[in-house]
Symmetry: C2
Subunit: 132 residues, 2 copies
């Protein structure tokens, strides 16, 4: 059993974040006599699970679902896989969107001389004064 700062070190999650996760019912540590949170090894596993899934881009609600699958020894691996695949699709979409954005912005930047003169195709485009 350990205090929150030790759990923080072992899970690589900030103390504030751990308390926040308790607030939204992702974890329920025990309390000692003076009201301090007290974490056991399985709590730390849970926190690490959260740290890892958040860092992979899952939202809190997805983490909640993944945790329930983690808790369920009889879940089908297909249940987990479908969550992962949905997330991969989302990431893919986001990458494509950003790619489009980059192309557009790069084209604008390339047309801009970047000198001391006031003429600027970027501003013209933003203002709706582009010719194309």
């Amino acid at each position: 059993m350990m205090n929150i700062s030790e759990a923080s070190k072992r899970s690589h999650l900030p103390v504030k974040t751990i308390r926040y996760y308790e607030d939204i019912d992702l974890i329920k540590p025990a309390r000692n006599g003076s009201g301090y949170r007290s974490y056991n090894e399985s709590d730390v596993h849970r926190l690490r699970f959260l740290q890892r899934s958040r860092s992979l881009g899952f939202t809190i609600e997805e983490c909640r679902l993944l945790l329930s699958l983690y808790d369920d020894d009889n879940r089908a691996s297909s249940d987990v896989k479908s969550v992962a695949e949905a997330k991969i699709k989302e990431i893919d979409l986001k990458i494509k969107e950003l790619g489009t954005l980059k192309v557009t912005l790069s084209a604008l930047a390339q047309n801009c001389h970047g000198d001391d003169k006031p003429d600027c195709p970027i501003i013209d485009d933003l203002a709706g004064r582009r010719d194309h």
Copy 2:
């Protein structure tokens, strides 16, 4: 001069968003006798400028900067270009991060059978039980 819903149509910005932009001092429309906001053509240009720059991924604060450059007839085009280039770099970084995420998640998903059995390499990874 037009009411807010007409300005919304012409700028492709939701009414709520236009009011919000006023709240944070991006635009200051006139008011008519009964307190209704009243937009002229130059207000609509400003709103369109905001719509376009937001859709290109600039934050509100960046839009505020771009607007001040838009207002300044003597700005150097290099000032604008540097804002655009910084944004391109950010987008690039984000794309790379998402690419890494996608590779990691895809590798996990590929190792998962996705069947009715409980064994799941994705959960194992999240739980820190991966072998590699």
